[in-house]
């Protein structure tokens, strides 16, 4: 039987989305560390190197690196290579701008450690208006 966990956080950017979780206790540079043409993380040595974020509920610490990150996510949005939603443990304005540019829900400040509560492969529903996260574990 699948178990369902409900988490409450701060809705930073509105929108409702769902998808499989991709979880990584790391920061991501969307400029230079992410390929908008494939949706893959390309930073050398990054734990998600080679993995696609497309359609995933991407759980990570925060953005890092170049401020052009939001323009790259915006470009990836035109190509349909963006995550379904983002969940951050630390909020930063570049993740916010990336999500605003593509209309992706963004949540931070969950009432549980997102890296403990959510595992890669869990099915996650995110409501950026209410700040809620519903995790379904098989």
């Amino acid at each position: 039987m699948p178990t369902i966990i409900k988490l409450q956080g701060k809705g930073r950017v509105k929108g409702v989305a769902e998808g499989e979780a991709l979880v990584c206790r790391e920061r991501i540079s969307f400029w230079g560390g992410f390929n908008p043409f494939t949706g893959q993380i390309v930073e050398i040595g990054h734990p998600l190197h080679g993995q696609s974020v497309k359609g995933k509920v991407l759980v990570f610490i925060s953005s890092k690196g170049s401020t052009a990150g939001s323009t790259v996510v915006s470009l990836a949005g035109l190509l349909g290579n963006v995550p379904a939603a983002m969940i951050n443990s630390e909020i930063d304005d570049l993740a916010v701008q990336s999500c605003i540019a593509c209309g992706l829900p963004l949540i931070s400040d969950l009432d549980a450690d997102p890296f403990e509560a959510i595992a890669t492969g869990d099915y996650v529903r995110v409501d950026g208006e209410k700040g809620t996260v519903e995790v379904t574990k098989e």
Binding site: R12, V13, R27, S29, G32, G33, F37, V42, E43, I44, I61, S62, S63, K64, G65, S66, T67, A68, G69, S70, T71, S74, L75, L78, L79, E90, I91, D92, D93, L94, V96, Q97, S98, I100, A101, L106
Partner: protein
């Protein structure tokens, strides 16, 4: 967030649909970052480029949408002084860099329309090298992570890390008030004690790369550092914002908001403390020296864009010499400085040796690959080029980079 009648009117479209859309983005950003209001800015540093080679890689409909978006921006009058971030094309080097003609056409149009709308189309990552030098306390909306660090830390001006929001702020004249605009957020939380002399500019980059990794989004404060030169601090800023994502740093006794350690920390204990000594320096350098052979085929200087002094000293070293065939030297500098460098004979000296002085963009922004094994003095260039351009990289001081290029081989 509370909006004034004037701001609300813009949001409702009384100044046209473009400004309404931009205002909507700023309000969304402000709400997400828990800002209470929008405040006026005195200048902006914003992105204005069609995408260069990237544009020609996009499917037709996406390319058209991208070009249309930029066109719309370039046609909108800016509300404040606005310099423009590095673009994706060097308009003087279309053939040399293999830039598709349609991408160059888009860029020429943006240059023309943007300048008509009041954009200072500087196309550089170092606005402070081309006359955008704000004073302490000025509120800005800057893009470019390394320039944001320079403005907040060295000048005491106030800007968050703007991406797409810089353009919205440039045309509306407002930014949401959060983060670096508030006194409390500018205090250091991470202490880094530097116990090794940083002899070369590249060593300042190593300190930045080491610290960014550990500080993440948090503001670090450094002790044990002398007043840096412009060339040194440029490397520190770029590297901090490569491995990290903070908007500011302090150097005790040097930067304007750090007269002493207590002031920098806001009389709080640091959350974490690190030492950067000779071992940390060497380990950080070694991380950017993972090469499978000693032959090199290109040297890249000018990340962030080179000062006139960096161009001059390269010219001095290269004058009368000749690079081996198949080895490139690229020195990227703002177009404004390249004009002066031409007049002073530096460009002739560098190009006479077989090197190139380039502007408006950079290998990363424009996706210009110089070859398979790069030497550079920049941690930012080293870090990103491996993933973005697929080359191996060896980090060295600027002089060693040029000497290696002249030999075609690492020492």
């Amino acid at each position: 967030m509370e909006l004034s009648p004037e701001q609300l009117a813009i949001l409702q479209g009384n100044q046209g649909p473009v400004k309404a859309m931009m205002m909507h983005q700023l309000v969304q950003l402000g709400q997400a970052m828990e800002a209470k209001r929008l405040v006026p800015i005195s200048n902006a540093h914003a992105i204005l480029t069609g995408g260069g080679k990237l544009l020609s890689m996009l499917p037709e409909d996406a390319a058209a949408k991208q070009a249309l978006q930029m066109d719309m921006v370039a046609g909108t009058r800016v509300a404040v002084k606005t310099t423009v971030q590095s673009g994706t094309v060097d308009l003087e080097q279309i053939d040399y860099l293999g830039i598709p003609e349609e991408a160059a056409t888009v860029e020429r149009k943006l240059l023309h329309e943007g300048s008509q709308s009041g954009f200072e189309v500087t196309w550089t990552c170092t606005p402070y090298l081309v006359g955008n030098v704000p004073s302490q306390g000025e509120v800005l909306a800057w893009t470019e992570s390394s320039a944001v660090l320079y403005a907040n830390s060295m000048l005491g001006a106030r800007t968050n890390r703007n991406g797409i929001s810089a353009i919205a702020a440039a045309v509306t004249g407002w930014v949401p008030e959060y983060g670096m605009l508030l006194d409390g957020c500018r205090k250091a939380q991470i202490l880094v004690e530097v116990t090794v002399p940083l002899v070369d500019e590249m060593h300042w980059g190593a300190l930045g790369y080491f610290t960014g990794d550990r500080a993440g989004l948090k503001v670090p404060v450094f002790t044990g550092l002398p007043s840096p030169t412009l060339e040194q601090v440029k490397q520190l800023c770029a590297a901090l914002a490569t491995s990290g994502g903070m908007s500011m740093f302090h150097i005790v006794g040097v930067t304007p908001e750090a007269p002493d350690l207590e002031a920098a920390l806001g009389n709080h204990e640091p959350l974490a403390q690190y030492t950067f000594g000779s071992q940390e320096l060497q380990e950080t350098i070694d991380r950017m020296r993972q090469v499978s052979g000693k032959d090199i085929d290109h040297a890249v200087l000018g990340c962030p864009h080179a000062t006139l002094y960096e161009v001059e000293r390269a010219a001095r070293l290269l004058r009368g010499k000749r690079l081996p065939s198949g080895v490139k030297v690229w020195i990227w500098t703002p177009f404004a400085l390249k004009e002066v460098a031409c007049r002073l004979g530096y460009v002739d000296a560098i190009e006479g040796a077989g090197g190139k002085v380039l502007s408006d963009s950079c290998p990363l922004a424009g996706l210009f690959s110089g070859g398979t094994r790069m030497v550079t003095n920049s941690f930012k260039m080293a870090h990103y080029s491996r993933a973005m351009l697929g080359n191996e990289v060896y980090i060295a001081d600027w002089r060693s980079c040029l000497e290696a290029a002249l030999e075609g081989r690492l020492p």
